[in-house]
């Protein structure tokens, strides 16, 4: 008989532990009203009840998994390859977003080294050119990076795809509309 996978059991126990942790530690520490509160002479449901109920669902599911489905015929596992993949993808996206956020202000800082009257990115953020530069670089990096990971290698068509996609997005979101902000212009 082939060895039965233990992943449902493990997943179930992890869920149970998580649910108990949230219900007994996080929720009580991070809510200001309890499960039932006395307000205006009456009792009413406090803020802590709903999240606690949510954890009950997770707890129930975890217990069920660990007890009743531990011998299910096919169980899913997370393998090392998948972890590597998702880390690489997430890394590329995070880096891309950071590029979007800081390119504009960084360039301004650089330029300010040579100016007596310093510019502020915040005031320039609606002018064409400045408002696109972060998004363009970050977007191209992100798409090219992801395509390269998936195709196991950087190629010209990856870069072209990144450029086309990012430029298309600028055309669709930014050029026609006055009110819309591409990253990072809503935050600075």
């Amino acid at each position: 008989m082939p060895a039965v996978s233990r992943s449902n059991l493990i997943l179930g126990l992890v869920c149970v532990a998580f649910a108990l942790g949230v219900a007994l530690i996080w929720v009580p520490l991070d809510t200001h009203t309890g499960i039932i509160e006395r307000v205006r002479g009456r009792y009413s449901i406090g803020d802590a009840l709903a999240p606690t109920v949510a954890t009950m669902f997770i707890l129930l599911g975890g217990v069920w998994l660990a007890l009743f489905e531990r011998r299910a015929r096919s169980q899913s596992v997370i393998d090392g390859d998948q972890l590597r993949f998702i880390s690489a993808m997430t890394g590329v996206v995070v880096l891309g977003v950071l590029i979007m956020r800081y390119t504009g202000p960084a360039l301004i800082e650089l330029i300010n080294q040579f100016r007596s009257d310093p510019l502020e990115y915040r005031l320039l953020r609606n002018t064409p050119g400045w408002r696109h530069v972060g998004f363009l670089l970050g977007g191209v990096f992100m798409v090219t990076g992801m395509v390269s990971i998936v195709e196991h290698g950087v190629s010209r068509r990856a870069v072209v795809t990144g450029l086309v996609a990012t430029l298309l997005l600028i055309v669709v979101f930014d050029l026609p509309f006055e009110d819309l902000l591409l990253p990072p212009n809503g935050d600075v």
Binding site: R40, R122, L181, G186
Partner: protein, 316 residues
């Protein structure tokens, strides 16, 4: 507070008030972030965006609207804390946000940390029930309550819940107070029968005109335009009222020039029925209600200070 508001409203009337002329020369140094404390697509959000549109058309100022909802407006106020006060950031809230909500949120802020600009309109807040309950006056409802009937009273904010509670206590009826999210939820609840009566801030207009709903009382310090004979809440045994104003606010310590320029510009577009913003205000509220400058500061401060009294009274 209600006596103060009644006096202020009487003094100002419902016309635009004149503001100092030193506002004319100011222009914003960059695009203006317009923070909106209301959910997208609702009436209040539409009002804010229309005001921005009208100012863009009239003065060429650029606005970037941004939703900052939650906490009864306190989230917007907290987010506004770190913003510059040179006129590039303003927000739209209700006056209650700077009063009761800010007080109870207990985040170390008070109205003094902000620069109130101007109110735009006052909501026609009434105590409203379905006409098929058989109640045609506030007394009818109280009589039913005292006769043992359980009365479900819908409210849409914590302050209104406190006011409703005190009203019930003053009248000797133990009301079943149900807090829901937003004025429309009260309307839906009352119409569906989940609640018997509730506060409604103008949304009852069509229903009252059609005869499905009835204004039992005015929750403001002034009579309801639609039902002027309905009693005022202040005459029903409590000293608090439920006036609701929409207003614009800016980060604290703003200089006079941007403050006056923004206040008068907003007041102008809101009072002009030719603009979409003005037309909306006319349709929804019967006209603008403008309180500005030092008057507005006094109003919000009083609301803030009065909150501690309200809370103490409730917990007795």
């Amino acid at each position: 507070m209600r006596k103060y508001v009644a006096a202020a409203v009487a003094a100002l009337g419902l016309a635009a008030s004149a503001v100092s002329a030193s506002a004319d020369d100011w222009a914003p140094p960059g695009p203006i972030k317009l923070m909106i404390a209301f959910a997208a697509g609702g009436g209040a959000d539409t009002q804010a965006r229309l005001v921005a549109d009208a100012l863009e058309t009239r003065l060429g100022w650029q606005f970037i609207p941004e939703q900052v909802t939650g906490g009864g407006g306190v989230n917007l106020l907290r987010a506004m804390q770190d913003e510059p006060n040179d006129g590039t950031v303003i927000g739209m809230i209700v006056a209650e946000s700077l009063g009761y909500n800010l007080f109870t949120a207990d985040v170390g802020l008070s109205p003094a940390d902000f620069t109130p600009l101007t109110t735009t309109a006052g909501a026609q807040m009434g105590i409203v029930s379905r006409s098929d309950t058989g109640w045609s006056s506030f007394e009818d409802m109280i009589a039913a309550g005292q006769g043992g009937q359980e009365i479900r009273f819908g409210v849409m904010s914590p302050r209104l819940a406190d006011v409703a509670y005190l009203l019930g206590q003053a009248q000797g009826v133990d009301l079943n107070i149900i807090t829901v999210r937003g004025g429309r939820a009260v309307l839906n609840g009352v119409t569906a029968g989940d609640m018997d009566v509730g506060f409604m801030a103008g949304i009852q207009g069509a229903g009252v005109a059609a005869g499905d709903l009835v204004n039992l009382a005015s929750a403001m310090s002034t009579p309801l335009v639609q039902t002027p004979d309905a009693p005022l809440i202040g005459d029903l045994g409590i000293e608090f009222s439920a006036d609701a104003f929409f207003m614009f606010v800016a980060p604290g310590g703003m200089a006079d020039a941007p403050r006056n320029a923004l206040s008068s510009a907003i007041a102008e577009v809101v009072s002009d029925p030719e603009t979409e913003a003005g037309a909306l205000i006319q349709r929804a509220f019967g006209g603008p209600l403008l309180i500005q400058g030092a008057d507005l500061e006094a109003l919000v401060t009083q609301g803030f200070d009065e909150s501690s009294v309200l809370l103490d009274t409730v917990s007795d």
